[in-house]
């Protein structure tokens, strides 16, 4: 392959380092320093993709991150494939593969191209208009939509790359390393501010670095030459860290910014190995200097999207920076002077410029005289009314503009070309400024939104602040910088500046054509194929808010977020609706500025590091004994212990029987434990639990129910009085942190007068819960000295004992209805104590059981699980737990709410037991409950909250919440399922041992 489209060597391209890469399966060559876009252009390839809706051929438009068209799939056939990458940002490396997107079978022959001819069928909002009827067709539509949605293909396998995060704190962060950013960073660092300078490109210097305009001079040098010397000095400056290939994605409050540092994407395949691919920088800066520059605007005219139509500034960059010729017959179309600079730099390299079309009446700056001198034809007051060429622009038609700019007159002139540079002026890149909360103001003369105000912590300098002329940029930067950093002088105080000033301006958001708008395609959002026609249609259909027009037409909703065309969309709306642009406002600029891959966002938090998890001290024993685990909050809890080929059901049935017939043991270490001390501890418990606590004797335990202030059950657990002013509270496993938080909140804010101290001791104790009729015998073997008689150690009491010299707390409390003891040992002895129980229990066939059996056993007894049988809408009365609500206490959290008219209603959902007519059918948890089967619509009375097959009762049991359930005892209801209706009857919530005789068995 030849690269005959290279001009004389560029200092930014290493022509000694030839690189091969593949595009759409074919091998091409470029040089180190090329982007995929510049290398493709050098190979005379402009057609790189198809547009989203109409599948129109599209080419490379820009040279930077604002690119809407040239988005490609990188490494399409591998597991590191990346969709929607901008060819203008991908630096080529040996082995790079890329392919076009949104086309089939190929970019040159795309079946979807038929959509272009069906365009009248795809007006704005066509999804909403087309896919609404008939309703039953939705599934068919969905198939079609899913296939045509999206551009690239996301990778299907795990991302093999390594990503990282880094926190950075700095005094001054400078975003953008153009001339303003470089001077700002240099002077900040020289004045002892710890400074960080970031730029998304691989080279410093912004657009000035390839500037060739001899009229722009600093200290009598070309601005680019002067800037190169400044850049050279940067590496010797202390306090200054410079990062290239680093794009700021988000700017949050209080100068917190997120940036993506790209470390290996540009390296050859072999050099990428085992290196961090991208790093997310989390930056907290004391001061931020935004020097993000400006984006060149396109012009909106009929068929303005053909391959070969490019931004004028991009053409200049390709020729001056990459040494690449975009076209051999160039035309420029402009409303300002900058196209003339591009034209002249092409001319100076010996590249042909056919003509310049300018919508202005005239201009008399130096650059225009030079263009006249070299004999390039300028068409003043003209506009392009149409373009031709399917896969590459071949010619344009121009006509004279009327004085008011709304129509064209005279005869049509046709000019052939293979490249059209468009220059619609400049849009300050205020994205980050507005993300930070900054407000914009509209400069009506220059038709730009600029930052309304700098603050003590943030300034916008250079063209992102609205300064476009060199002398203006430097002068304002100098002034702003001194104030911002509170310094007296800068090292560019007295440089000599020389430059031309633009004098003539004319702006027309939508350029007229000789054809009616209905027949034209003036693209505003190239990536989403939204045209000016679509925007006007949206306005005709009644949309007024810019945010609504955006969503209806999808303008600005592509991966480029409309960096090029959003201003025109606003302008067209303002002109059509007859409002001022400043009053219209803008759409919201949301992070990220350019797309981030998920890998960068999550960094190292993948796989086992995705979330923290907690394991109990007995965890190794559970693993050794083949426990299956379940996640409860962050805890890994043993779920059940299958033996050989047992299914979960079989294991749970076996465990449940064993616990009731002989002995079982449960790891209950995960229950929340809060140590409560202080002279007002009893009073405090009185206020936070629904029942009374003052009279609880030392050494006794009591079950407590905690409500929210709205009267709804929040948590429950057993609290033990260890001493006069000392309690230990247990909470649910999942609720521990929230309960502690809630208790601290009341203590600190509502009752600061109480003398109470709370300490979380969840992790300090391991708990083995010994349960079943033989548990007393097992405990006796472990602690022979302790009198376990009901007189000395009754139900709901506590003993502190020594087991092998280890101080343990034993509570005789039960969540299963069986005689049980909870042994609390210091965490580091947890496994030893557990092991001791297992050894002692061998002769009784002690059976370890997990959470599933625990849930089944407690359901047999009708004990609730907060969060399973309750959902934040259940009062204790709804749960039939009136017995635990003190009538005597004057107040407790949630008391008043229990007497609100709503909580006192008779027909609230109430907890009841459910028994199936066929005892072998186990209901599904969450299943709905109805009383009528033949009525439509049918009223849902409630749902099943817990459901099991009870091996001890040999039938299915369930708990459910049912409207007015308390008064339905025995009533027949139905649980309608997909294939059958299950008959059930309302029952008592306690299914097993209603008289609690087994507690003392």
């Amino acid at each position: 392959m030849t690269q005959n489209l290279r001009v004389k060597s560029s200092e930014f391209i290493d022509e000694t380092n030839r690189i091969s890469f593949k595009f759409d399966g074919k091998t091409y060559y470029g040089f180190k320093g090329d982007t995929l876009a510049s290398a493709l252009i050098a190979n005379n390839i402009h057609l790189v993709g198809r547009s989203f809706k109409y599948h129109r051929p599209r080419g490379i438009m820009t040279s930077g991150s604002e690119e809407p068209n040239a988005i490609v799939q990188v490494n399409p056939s591998s597991n590191i494939t990346e969709p929607n990458a901008r060819a203008t940002e991908i630096e080529i490396y040996e082995g790079l593969e890329a392919s076009s997107q949104n086309c089939w079978p190929s970019v040159n022959f795309d079946i979807g191209g038929i959509n272009n001819f069906l365009a009248p069928l795809f007006p704005s909002g066509f999804y909403y208009k087309t896919f609404m009827w008939p309703k039953s067709f939705w599934e068919k539509y969905e198939f079609f939509i899913r296939h045509s949605a999206g551009l690239g293909k996301s990778p299907a396998t795990k991302d093999p790359d390594i990503y990282d995060h880094r926190n950075i704190h700095c005094d001054v962060l400078v975003v953008g390393a153009g001339i303003s950013g470089i001077l700002a960073a240099k002077n900040a660092a020289k004045n002892n501010f710890k400074t960080l300078l970031l730029d998304e490109k691989n080279e410093l210097g912004g657009s000035t670095i390839f500037e060739a305009n001899e009229d722009n001079k600093i200290n009598n040098n070309l601005a680019s030459e002067w800037l190169k010397k400044e850049i050279n000095e940067l590496k010797n400056i202390k306090n200054l860290e410079v990062k290239t290939r680093t794009s700021v994605a988000a700017y949050h409050q209080y100068n917190y910014l997120l940036a993506r540092e790209n470390l290996t994407d540009h390296l050859d395949k072999k050099d990428k190995k085992n290196k961090i691919r991208q790093r997310l920088l989390k930056i907290r800066a004391k001061k931020v200097i935004l020097a993000t520059g400006a984006l060149e605007r396109p012009l909106i005219f009929n068929n303005n999207d053909r391959p070969g139509i490019m931004l004028s500034s991009a053409i200049k960059k390709y020729s001056n920076f990459y040494g690449v010729v975009c076209g051999t017959k160039n035309i420029f179309f402009t409303n300002n002077d900058s196209a003339y600079e591009s034209a002249l730099s092409l001319y100076n390299k010996g590249i042909k410029v056919e003509a310049i079309i300018d919508i202005r009446e005239n201009s008399d700056t130096k650059i225009i005289k030079k263009i006249n001198d070299v004999g390039i034809k300028i068409y003043w007051s003209h506009t392009i009314v149409d373009t031709r060429g399917y896969k590459r622009i071949s010619s344009i038609s121009i006509m004279r503009l009327s004085n008011d700019g709304t129509s064209v007159t005279g005869s049509k002139i046709s000019i052939s070309c293979d490249c059209l540079g468009i220059a619609g002026g400049w849009t300050p890149a205020v994205h980050l400024y507005t993300q930070s909360g900054g407000k914009l103001t509209f400069d009506d003369e220059r038709k730009i939104f600029i930052p309304k105000a700098d603050t003590k912590e943030q300034i916008s300098v250079g063209s992102c602040g609205g300064d476009f002329e060199l002398d203006e940029i430097i002068r304002n930067l100098n002034y702003k910088l001194k104030n911002f950093l509170n310094i007296n002088k800068t090292d560019f105080d007295s440089i000599a500046l020389e430059n031309d000033h633009e004098t003539s301006k004319r702006n027309i958001w939508l350029l007229p054509s000789d054809q009616s708008i209905g027949k034209t395609k003036p693209f505003v959002d190239y990536q989403n194929d939204a045209t000016a026609k679509d925007i006007k249609l949206a306005l005709r259909e009644g949309f007024r808010s810019i945010e609504h027009v955006k969503r209806y037409t999808t303008t600005g909703m592509g991966t480029d977020q409309g960096k090029l065309g959003n201003m025109h969309a606003l302008g067209i709306i303002a002109d059509t609706a007859g409002v001022k642009m400043g009053e219209l406002g803008t759409t919201t600029f949301r992070p990220p500025y350019t797309p981030l891959t998920f890998g960068t966002i999550v960094g190292r938090n993948v796989g086992e590091f995705f979330d923290t998890f907690r394991r109990t001290p007995m965890n190794d024993w559970h693993i050794k004994n083949k426990a299956e685990f379940e996640n409860v909050g962050q805890w890994k809890r043993s779920w059940y212990y299958p033996k050989e080929d047992e299914t979960m059901h079989q294991a749970v049935q076996r465990e449940s029987k064993a616990a009731r017939q002989s002995a079982g043991i449960l790891d209950a270490s995960t229950l929340g434990k809060i140590d409560i001390q202080g002279s007002d501890a009893s009073e405090f418990l009185n206020r936070v639990y629904t029942n009374a606590w003052s009279k609880l004797a030392i050494g006794k335990c009591r079950y407590g129910l905690m409500l929210n202030e709205d009267g709804m059950v929040y948590d429950d657990g057993v609290t033990t009085r260890l001493g006069e002013n000392h309690y230990i509270m247990t909470t649910t496993t999942g609720g521990a942190a929230n309960v502690l938080g809630k208790l601290e909140d009341y203590l600190q804010t509502e009752w600061p007068e109480l003398d109470v101290y709370l300490t979380s001791v969840t992790d300090h104790f391991a708990t083995a819960s010994l349960c079943g009729p033989n548990s007393k015998k097992i405990l006796n073997k472990i602690i022979p000295d302790l009198d376990l008689s009901d007189d000395n150690f009754p139900h709901m009491s506590f003993k502190e004992v020594l087991i092998d010299k280890i101080k343990c707390r034993i509570m005789r409390i039960s969540f299963t209805g069986e005689l049980s003891y909870e042994i609390n040992a210091p965490a580091s002895y947890g496994e030893a104590i557990w092991q001791k129980c297992i050894e002692a229990g061998k002769e009784f066939n002690i059976t370890p059981y997990g959470t599933e059996t625990m849930h089944l056993l407690r359901a047999e007894k009708g004990f609730i699980i907060v969060g399973q049988d309750t959902d934040g809408t259940m009062t204790p009365i709804d749960l039939q737990m009136d017995w635990i609500v003190s009538k005597k206490k004057y107040d407790f959290i949630g008391k008043r709410s229990l007497y609100r008219s709503d909580t006192m209603k008779e027909d609230r959902k109430q907890l009841v037991g459910l028994l199936t007519e066929d005892p072998n059918i186990v209901l599904e948890e969450g299943a709905q409950i109805v009383s009528e089967l033949n009525q439509k619509p049918v009223e849902m009375l409630g749902h099943v909250t817990s459901s099991y097959f009870s091996p001890n009762l040999n039938k299915s049991i369930a708990l459910a919440v049912v409207k007015g359930g308390k008064s339905m005892m025995g009533r027949k209801l139905f649980v309608p399922m997909e294939n059958k209706n299950i008959s059930v009857s309302v029952a008592n919530t306690v299914f097993y041992d209603e008289k609690n005789e087994r507690l003392n068995a």
């Binding site: 409050q253 209080y254 601290e744 008043r896 709410s897």
Partner: protein, 91 residues
Amino acid sequence: MFLINCPYCGERDQQEFKAGGEAHIERPKQPTELSDDEWAEYLFMRKNIKGVQFERWNHAHGCRKWFNMARDTSNDEIKAIYKIGEKPPTQ
């Protein structure tokens, strides 16, 4: 992401804090004597104003202390931070 000046620990990242809603809503001393409407006013009604709002914050992943903040909800500017029990700033 705010930078919050905890009155007990100093400047910390917002990640360490938990927001606790509107401040200066005192729990009634005698709830049983309130009408349903009065109790509902305490329980449910919040101002949610655009402008300077007094709100509760908790240094949950730090000293665990609650404190109050005056924050302009329109631009997230933190106007003042003060301890529980202290009067809100007038300006």
